[in-house]
Symmetry: C2
Subunit: 395 residues, 2 copies
């Protein structure tokens, strides 16, 4: 009998950003955040976890075929320990259960998108780890309860335990028991929500978000005002999502992205994630909305120069038309939705971008995706581990 | 008898920025600001004003040889009207005075720095206009009183009526009577304060500061916090100047520049003045300070990509060494101070800029100047007007 489970988990991109911890060990944020879960059909982390009494002592983990050290007391170890503890409680109650909690683990994880894509893989990766262990251990905990564990692995990972539109509530308990993720609306509620990821080249590696956000907490005065306005913004965007009010959703998303990058700039020394290409994408989206006479697209930027542009499915041809025109990509664009391209709306002022647009490759590539579901438990045939408990990729 | 006066006035660069008006007509700011007046030996506006009963009716003004319309009720007209009013009061009291206030004016103004240098010329230009008219009319008003008039021409012009280190007090009177400039310290108090202006190329014309700042007032939530923290910053930088504490002066200057650009980014739609080259200059200055083990340089950016780097005279060789190394200029650098260049401090991490530095001309040119004096009344030989009241340049 092989005790093993494989699960995949999605990437999420926040509309209301997480930036700042009030507790760095427990990963408790200074403000609530809200994200859209992206479709795993396009971007996902997959993780297989296996427990076996015959494994050599000690847990081992491979990420994309490379073994990672599970540091004692580190974030991975904390997640594994918590889930194992819950399994132990079950085993203590039901004596017939196999003692999986006592057996060493072998875990293999794989991201189907290149690290070079500049997408944070820690959220989907940690969520997949938690989902696969929860499945392996047959844990009864709800996704929100599991999100408490994922949160301690990588803050925004907690949001990847749900599909659709997801809030991470900051909570008030100093121990973190109420700092968890919950669904605001399912993907089925608003399936027309699509996203275009613009992968922007950057010569320089930026500040890591982990260290950057604490610098902001320590040195930015403007962060105080941000923390005062985010609760209202959380309410407003939740309502916009429930009402499927794209214009309002978009305004709040762009406002919050700009507010987040503003507090980064207000940090000492200042943190810059947006570069000239990011700025130009903002200008194109703003002008697209102006020329369209309504807000049809919303940009948002995480801790890097890549843009994610949210738009409704029907308006993606306009977004693609504008982006492809000004930012010829170096990588071929394969659109899973076979969306066409529409011309710029009449009255679009092409002067907002530099003459002739940008050089090929300023935007490396485009990824078209949409709102997606939460973690999926996959069949055996998707296992990443070989018989010996070593990733198949290495066998 | 020719009634004429010629005056020159300096450029000023704010350390605590002016951004936002509480009254757009009177130009009353949302916060106090503080600047360093730069040396007129290097950068100046010169203005000649002449009153003559024989001139055709109506005032006329030329800027760099090009006639500008003096719009009824416009900012130029308001300044002229106020000063003429003060002259009228004198004439009413002293009946022997020539009735200059009744005569048409001819005004010629000239900036010795190219508009392309990207330096705001409105401050020095308006200050020179006010100074020349005050001299022509023999007005007894103090520089602070004159600053009330210059302020209505172009907000930050009020600070160019003083040399040294100058505060523009926001004031509380709705009529603006106490929103004026005053000296915090003279140039003689801290003559070692030098400045290096890095003229940065930008493909795109940015948002004008006049419209940009009101967009910020209307849409930025973070501005509220900025307005709360600026008063303390004003006190602290005034104390730093009085104590000649460069490190504190520099920290506050950089913090406020970043805070200003942060609220620009927090504006809807966002306003960007810093580009990738500006960011790189910031990175070089931050790294220079880190590697030097003390704060020897402070960057500040106005509503454009140009950097102004404040440093003490003794440390300019380090600043020049770093900037010239990473940003080869397209224009020859002529240093009026013949300052040498020092190597990067040991331990300077060159990884903060992109490999090989920037291409020639990313920084177009450098201007080395220092703290300077206030407006100067010049001799007749400096007059910009020919016999007929038309600029000599056109004669």
């Amino acid at each position: 009998m092989v005790y093993e489970a494989t699960a995949s988990a999605p990437v999420n991109i926040a509309c209301i950003k997480y930036w700042g911890k009030r507790d760095t060990r427990l990963i408790l944020p200074t403000n609530s955040s809200l994200s859209v879960t992206l479709d795993q059909d396009h971007l996902r982390s997959t993780t297989t976890s296996r427990a076996d009494a015959s494994f050599e002592a000690g847990d081992r983990l491979w990420l994309n075929g490379k073994e990672e050290v599970i540091k004692e007391g580190g974030r991975l170890a904390v997640c594994i320990k918590e889930l194992r503890g819950w399994r132990k409680e079950m085993e203590d109650k039901e004596k017939d259960l196999p003692k999986l909690s006592e057996w060493p683990l072998r875990i293999a994880s794989y991201n189907n998108f290149p690290t070079a894509a500049g997408l944070a893989s820690s959220a989907s990766g940690l969520a997949a780890l938690v989902a696969s262990l929860a499945s392996l251990y047959s844990l009864p905990q709800s996704p929100s309860q599991l999100s408490l564990v994922a949160r301690q692995g990588s803050g925004s990972a907690c949001r990847s335990l749900f599909g659709g539109f997801v809030a991470w509530r900051e909570g008030t308990d100093p121990a973190g028991s109420d700092s968890l993720a919950e669904e605001v609306a399912s993907r089925e509620h608003w399936p027309e929500m699509h996203a275009l990821i613009c992968v922007v080249s950057d010569a320089k590696k930026g500040t890591s978000s982990t260290s950057g956000m604490q610098k902001t907490v320590e040195t930015s005065s403007l962060l105080q005002e941000r923390l005062r306005v985010v609760p209202k913004r959380m309410d407003e965007i939740s309502q916009a999502i429930k009402a499927r009010d794209f214009s309002e959703f978009a305004k709040l998303t762009m406002t919050d992205s700009n507010s987040f990058h503003a507090v980064c700039l207000d940090t000492a020394p200042p943190i810059f994630y947006l570069n000239d290409v990011s700025r130009a994408i903002i200008a194109v989206v703003e002008e697209l909305n102006r020329a369209a006479g309504e807000i049809i697209a919303a940009y948002t930027f995480d801790a890097g120069p890549n843009a994610v542009i949210y738009t409704l499915e029907k308006n993606m041809p306009f977004v693609l038309g504008a982006i492809k025109r000004f930012f010829p990509t170096s990588e071929e664009f394969e659109d899973p939705f076979q969306t066409g391209v529409r011309d710029l709306p009449q009255g679009f002022n092409t002067g907002v971008v530099r003459e002739g647009g940008w050089e090929k490759g300023a935007v490396k590539g485009l990824i078209h995706t949409r709102v997606g579901d939460g973690p999926r438990v996959l069949g055996k045939e998707e296992s990443l581990l070989g018989e010996n408990g070593v990733p198949k990729i290495l066998a």
